[in-house]
Symmetry: C2
């Protein structure tokens, strides 16, 4: 009955359960057997079962609640790849490589196409913080950023100027306690518009990278958004994905 399994026991069980979920034996939305039942099923200890279930949870296959049991959330082992080094700072390529030089901080009313791209209602009031990102080595501008924050957070203006290497979302979190729970990011290619091109010291018809970021709190409310334009030859978005389960 017992195979001379080379793999650890909990990994075998995790594999079996994953297979069962993929095969539809445990359909999405259903609740799979309790831990003690699984102990009985696989003839092992609860500790081992939990280690196996932990794997499934890590893979995003199941969610677990105190009395409701472990619910099957997805049939396919999503997050097959995950970013290996991907703090937000790394992603944005912030920090030591370049600093923020604030150009202007003023309240504005967002309407029309801009409102649509930002994902807010027409005529919403925001505080716009425009800044230039300058590479500390070459002294050349690497990006123009318009950050839109809730106008009630106007007191962060000083801090934004004082801490040129800190994310504005971090400043808001420290000052007002509103915490970012989710970030949506869209990367597009554009032809850099003339005024921005001048600020970035590039030709008018050159290509650029436009990055839109939306910051949401735990309630799903967007309280910050930013649009960044980078010259094509001075910036790239890089990321590394690694397979989760070897």
């Amino acid at each position: 009955m017992k195979k001379p399994a080379s793999k650890p026991h909990f990994a075998e069980i995790a594999r079996d359960l994953t297979e069962g979920i993929a095969a539809g034996r445990y359909p999405v939305g259903s609740v799979l057997p309790g831990e003690l039942e699984l102990c009985d099923l696989y003839d092992t200890s609860r500790h081992t079962i939990r280690a196996a279930l932990n794997e499934l949870q890590q893979l995003g296959l199941v969610s677990r609640k105190k009395n409701a049991g472990t619910r099957v959330e997805s049939a396919t082992p999503r997050n097959d790849f995950r970013p290996s080094l991907g703090s937000l700072e790394d992603l944005v390529q912030f920090g030591s490589t370049n600093v923020r030089v604030v150009q202007s901080i003023e309240p504005t009313t967002v309407k029309g196409a801009l409102a649509k791209t930002l994902g807010c209602f027409n005529g919403t009031d925001w505080l716009r913080i425009s800044s230039l990102r300058v590479d500390s080595a070459t002294q050349k501008p690497v990006g123009w950023t318009d950050v839109y924050v809730d106008p009630q957070y106007d007191e962060i203006a000083d801090r934004v100027r004082a801490a040129p290497d800190t994310l504005i979302s971090t400043l808001i979190e420290k000052r007002y306690g509103r915490r970012v729970a989710e970030i949506r990011q869209v990367v597009r290619a554009i032809l850099i518009p003339p005024p921005t091109a001048a600020a970035l010291q590039v030709d008018a018809a050159s290509a650029g990278l436009e990055i839109l970021r939306q910051y949401f709190d735990a309630a799903g409310q967007m309280f910050e958004a930013s649009i960044t334009v980078h010259p094509a030859d001075r910036f790239a978005v890089a990321m590394t994905l690694q397979r989760s389960a070897p």
Copy 2:
């Protein structure tokens, strides 16, 4: 001595260790105390210590080896944000929205600037698979892709044509068993070169998104690379990041 800690014990320990790493008490590259020592230090069981260390490992702060102990890898709690839905297919926006139309499959010798961007030696031989991605709804081309694979995999040509909605890396894995362990991706903005512009049915001087992907196996060997060019107004790279620890 005992605080009325509301948080679980192992979480407190994880927090403390994270703090110690961030503060430099445990510098990057150093090896922090063994599990039994930590048991003594925090006056707890090995199980709890391991749960805490597990958190740090999950956050990418430490790596662990059989006899060398747990090594500090990074000072900042990276992966503070993780992609919420991020299978590779989602990221690439593959699948039902558009299909691959193969234009040519032929062996080439990569040299000069191309070799440099692809990240291989000058004069390396590859099998180049050029294809057009066409949106199934509008019938307009949304991207031009040059995939470079090891020329020994020339038998996949048929499969590439036969399965227009499957990743080429997946085809290689199924046919030859060589498995992708890591993917590096770089997104840049470019001006679309004339021949590509013609194929994509856009103006010559328009902006486009260039995506370079490199596929590595477990040994760190690159065995596939691809360069994709998308018209600026027909494609964007979107991703959602969610905070890991609420």
